[in-house]
Symmetry: C2
Subunit: 271 residues, 2 copies
């Protein structure tokens, strides 16, 4: 029952931050977390889990991995669940340890510290992206399109909320994520000599800019309604846009960010 | 009160299809519907509407457009609302008339019937896309990236559900949408000599394929979990993929579809 109380508590961002834990909910999200090798504290199972074959396989996998499974009734499960139609399984696990400073991040150091020609670096910066689905979808795109890390600036949804974890579909365990202040980001970009480009509907066409993209590059995408913050605009050396017919006011931020990451993808993804 | 009952009823797909009506909910969605010139049957306003300046401006706009506004209390508003945190406004309006057959669709006829060299056609086909947010986001991307129409095959979420309309951010009024059977799609593609390409993680890299893309092209994207149906695969002359590091199993379908539409965009969006 202590695990159930913990899972309920972890629905609050403050509790997740204080404890360094998160909750993966649903069969796919729990599978992805296990695939990603997370350090699990335990699982909670509701009656719905054993209804499907995939659910039963997952239960066996949890048991085989020596992860304690707490069985609760439907009502208790719902009290800790994030979704309206819960699939009867959630996993409490540790967030990967966050570095104290952006520039200490091992993946970024490894990529940015290597000055070998052709060594590329892509970093995605979320500048107050608020919708959990958009943030998770961007994380997933960043992992697939070769970003070395995803940086969440203030105002961005907690990347370890259950909804972001679910939308990330395993990306949280495939690409390092870290929260940082704008000052910390600026210091890292300066020290590692990484230019920042900003996504903005008024920017130049990205296909043209991509031809001259530097090997190391950070890309910032902004809030769903307000776009990039003034502080991030001030840091950006260029603004780039996805070309549009103008028949809609803008693209969804996850779509725009993904198209930009695609157009600026590293050489290993070009063929 | 009859309008409130109607709005409640329209939360069901069957009711929307039978009556040819839909509901736009929230300030932005109602603004977009009005911008799109929809034929409105009336608006319902809750107490939340007049709290914001933008809400008051919208009320004035509804009144100026001679659209009846029914004021109801919070509880009644919530009874008809689709969202958890309703913004206090919804608009009941007519769906644009759907053609009896795919090939009668005026926009498609205009684009496909014109054999002038360089005349391009892009059609997005949703093959059992189930998530309303994904469907609306794809509609929005299709409108911005130059598609002439969006075709929803069986198994796809109703494009006129409140969640799809909201995620579309006005795209429903910028690009024609229509539901069709696979047979109807096949007949149209054959008659108009439009090849179909399918989005599939196992397909060839889209950048290479794009170099030889025909001027007229339909692109099908599949279900979030299962991908393209066998029937649509059988219709496709090529399968194309977004290149991936493989660090995630797949991309979100709205992201993948948007990147493919971007890579296959018409010449007018290249510069």
């Amino acid at each position: 029952v202590r695990l159930l109380t913990l899972a309920r508590d972890l629905r609050r961002r403050r509790a997740r931050e204080r404890q360094g834990l998160f909750v993966a909910e649903g069969v796919r999200a729990v599978e992805a977390a296990l695939d990603g090798g997370v350090e699990a504290r335990g699982a909670v199972a509701g009656p719905a889990l054993d209804v499907t074959e995939r659910g039963r396989v997952l239960r066996a996998r949890l048991t085989a991995a020596n992860i304690a499974v707490l069985d609760v009734d439907e009502r208790d499960f719902v009290s800790a669940a994030d979704t309206d139609a819960p699939q009867g399984v959630l996993l409490v696990a540790a967030q990967p340890p966050a570095p104290a400073r952006l520039a200490e991040h091992p993946a970024l150091l490894a990529a940015a510290g290597d000055a070998a020609p052709g060594r590329e670096l892509r970093v995605l910066v979320l500048d107050a992206v608020q919708d959990p689905g958009n943030a998770g979808t961007l994380l997933r795109a960043a992992a697939g399109l070769g970003a070395a890390a995803v940086v969440a600036l203030p105002g961005t949804v907690d990347l370890w909320s259950a909804k972001v974890v679910r939308a990330g579909m395993g990306a949280h365990f495939a690409v390092p994520t870290l929260a940082a202040s704008v000052d910390a980001l600026a210091a890292f970009l300066r020290a590692a000599e990484v230019p920042l480009w900003g996504a903005d509907g008024g920017g130049g066409p990205v296909a043209r800019a991509a031809a001259d993209a530097p090997p190391r590059l950070a890309l910032a995408v902004g809030n769903e309604g307000a776009g990039l913050t003034a502080a991030v605009r001030a840091l950006a050396s260029a603004l780039v846009a996805v070309p549009s017919t103008g028949r809609v006011e803008s693209f969804n931020v996850a779509v725009a960010g993904s198209i930009l990451l695609y157009e600026l993808r590293p050489a290993s993804l070009r063929s």
